[in-house]
Amino acid sequence: MTSRITIDPISRIEGHLRIDAEVDGGRVSKAWASCTMWRGIENILIGRDPREAWLFAQRFCGVCTTVHAIASVRAVEDALKLQIPPNAQYIRNLILIHHALHDHIVHFYHLSALDWIDVMQIPKADPAKTASLAQSLSSWTRNSPQEFKSAQDKVKALAASGQLGIFANGYWGHPAMHLPPEVSLLGFTHYLQALEFQRKSNQIVAILGGKTPHIQNMTVGGVGNAIDLDSLGTLTMDRLTMIRSLVDEVIPFVHEAYFPDVCAIAGMYPEWFDIGRGAGNYLAVPDLPTDSGASSFDLPGGVIFSGDLAVVKKFQTAADPDFRTAVTEDATRAWYKGGTLHPWKGQTVPEYTDFQEDGKYTWVKAPRYSGRPMEVGPLSNILVGYVQGHALTRKWTDLALDRISAVARRKVTVDQLQSTMGRYGARAIRSAMLADLAVKHCELLTNNILGGDVATHNPPQFSKGEIEGVGTHEAPRGTLSHWVVVKDGKLANYQAVVPTTWNASPRDSKGNIGPYEASLMRNPVADPERPLELLRTVHSFDPCMACACHTFDPDGREIATVKVL
């Protein structure tokens, strides 16, 4: 029997991700990813001053604010060939690292852990047994029986009240959920603690950026922070010390709670290392530059094709010459006019049809790299680093695979990271690396200032004529690039190729399916009315359809609909 599942959570004002899948014999045989809102937001920027573009760009998405701000100033700096002072690199890097840690923690605990943890099993757990299990996994200080008991009481109280509140819509009791109650309680307890640590990580962004969610300190040519070790209202030694102490609080949560939790849960669902392999092509740009001219990076970049982990083409610069020329966007199957264009020539002219599975069916264009669909995100970041022998990537990846294999009682390999569970693992590995790098960049900044360098900004100069630039950033969801054309000091074109566009991309003119679509192929579906397995795979990418309206709809309901074909 073939059935058609449509998951379309919000079909009214807001535009969001819609997934359509045909299921045949309990497995997905065809899939379509569709974004239901027009993403023509870049058009707002045309004609504006390139120096203020970042202010608008950071409003593209309500949660990934800083990443768009930084990609935007980098794009204009690239067009002007403008270097920024070392302090500006380090301040930006610290903002990027802590935004990413915040984002990865929220993704695992608050957006996807409950795809794996059955909350309704939590009341059955023994808090003392949970504590001894947790203590065997890590030295995290908040793994006491009391801590687990108090988290369990919160779930019991909700269950007793008959109003599940935040948990009202979960797929509880689904046959694909099979964690022991103690592991569910462990994960859920850290879910509660995670709120505190994602907040601390965000506080670092606020101290450096002036405010969150919208930072105030970005500027083309550097950052707006004045550094004066003695004066108030600037970046002082006191504030640097405050940042360092917050960093020292966040790191243990990442290394001793998040990382071991993911390894343990992944090890208990080893079958998910064989499900959800995507496009098999991986793209990551280098990031966290360690010098003014961005000639070396703490996160490596490159491309891998066809799942072949023997070969990586390494990127030497933030916008490698190959990257500049290889990226195109194909509008054949998206609701836009035009064929395949380079982002500097890119157009955003809508041409809406209905959802036509053999024609146009989404508001997302299909970005391609040398004509190939590419997966972006932590998995790409980790694979590209691992294959080129990057030491920090290898250290944490090998540790994760050892731990997962020990729990699973079978060998889980780097190759198997190309899977739904591999994406969760890669995000935790990347977070562990970022926690190490947080300390490093704190020290780079402090030492550079103590060495007497207080420069934070090189002023930009615009002249007559046309220039082009690309700003890249390896964001929490993967490679982000902003492409600008500046003519006589004004923006003549602006295109943002965002991570979710790469991953949620539709079919292209050659019929190649996008990474989400590829990852859903052959996914098991036990119960079409409750397609938990599809959500697991889609959530593994951490989708963000970005730029969405937020309008509160008191009657809104999520719905998965199923139709027998």
Binding site: I7, P9, I10, R12, I13, E14, H16, L17, I19, W38, I41, N43, I44, L55, F56, R59, F60, C61, G62, V63, C64, V106, H107, H110, L111, K154, G165, I166, A168, N169, Y171, L192, L195, Q198, R199, N202, T212, P213, H214, T500, L535, V538, H539, D542, P543, C544, M545, A546, C547, A548, C549, H550, T551, F552, D553, P554, G556, R557, E558, A560
Partner: protein, 177 residues
């Protein structure tokens, strides 16, 4: 001491979705508040909202809403009204999360004792468009509801002696005016 957060929610680049942040700019430019009041344009904070809620004893949210009224009409929602809607299962990270945020804060025990959401029915959400006429015209009524709530909470708020123009930097039509 009651700490009050007045927060505008919505994407300022998407027409009427930015009604809340717009009203915050008007409040900032035209009124003085007691030191316990924080005004914030939170954009679309999604699941970061509980963090902001946790720092306040009372919260007034200004957000665009869809309740089927005419554009520019206003409806008030208290905690219970919002919690009555079940949170939705989410496919992506950043779907609107007001209900989830409030439900999460309640479970964590960090939900402020007073919470009022002033919902504004919008009509135009195209990227880059200014507020629709109807929503622009309802801003004084929103301000009025904010002031009444502050009065109820016994929090000081007065018109500024010399009010400036609101600094709505994202809106070309406002800047021209």
């Amino acid at each position: 001491m009651t700490k009050v957060l007045i927060a505008g929610i919505g994407n300022v680049l998407l027409g009427d979705d930015g009604a809340g942040p717009f009203a915050i700019k008007v409040l900032e430019s035209q009124y003085d508040f007691s030191d316990d009041v924080e005004l914030a344009d939170l954009g679309t904070p999604d699941l970061d909202l509980p963090v902001h809620l946790a720092s306040a004893d009372a919260v007034i949210l200004l957000d665009s809403a869809k309740f089927g009224g005419e554009a520019g009409s206003i409806r008030l929602f208290r905690k219970q009204d919002i919690l009555r809607s079940a949170p939705r299962a989410r496919i992506d990270a950043h779907s609107p999360a007001l209900v989830e945020s409030i439900a999460l804060a309640r479970m964590m025990g960090t939900l402020p004792s007073d919470l009022l959401m002033i919902g504004i029915q919008g009509s135009r959400f195209e990227p880059g468009s200014p507020l629709s006429r109807a929503v622009r015209d309802c801003i004084p009524h929103i301000i009025d509801f904010v002031r009444r709530e502050l009065y109820r909470l016994n929090i000081w708020c007065e018109p500024k002696a010399s009010a400036g123009a609101p600094r709505v930097w994202w809106d070309r039509t406002e800047n021209a005016a």
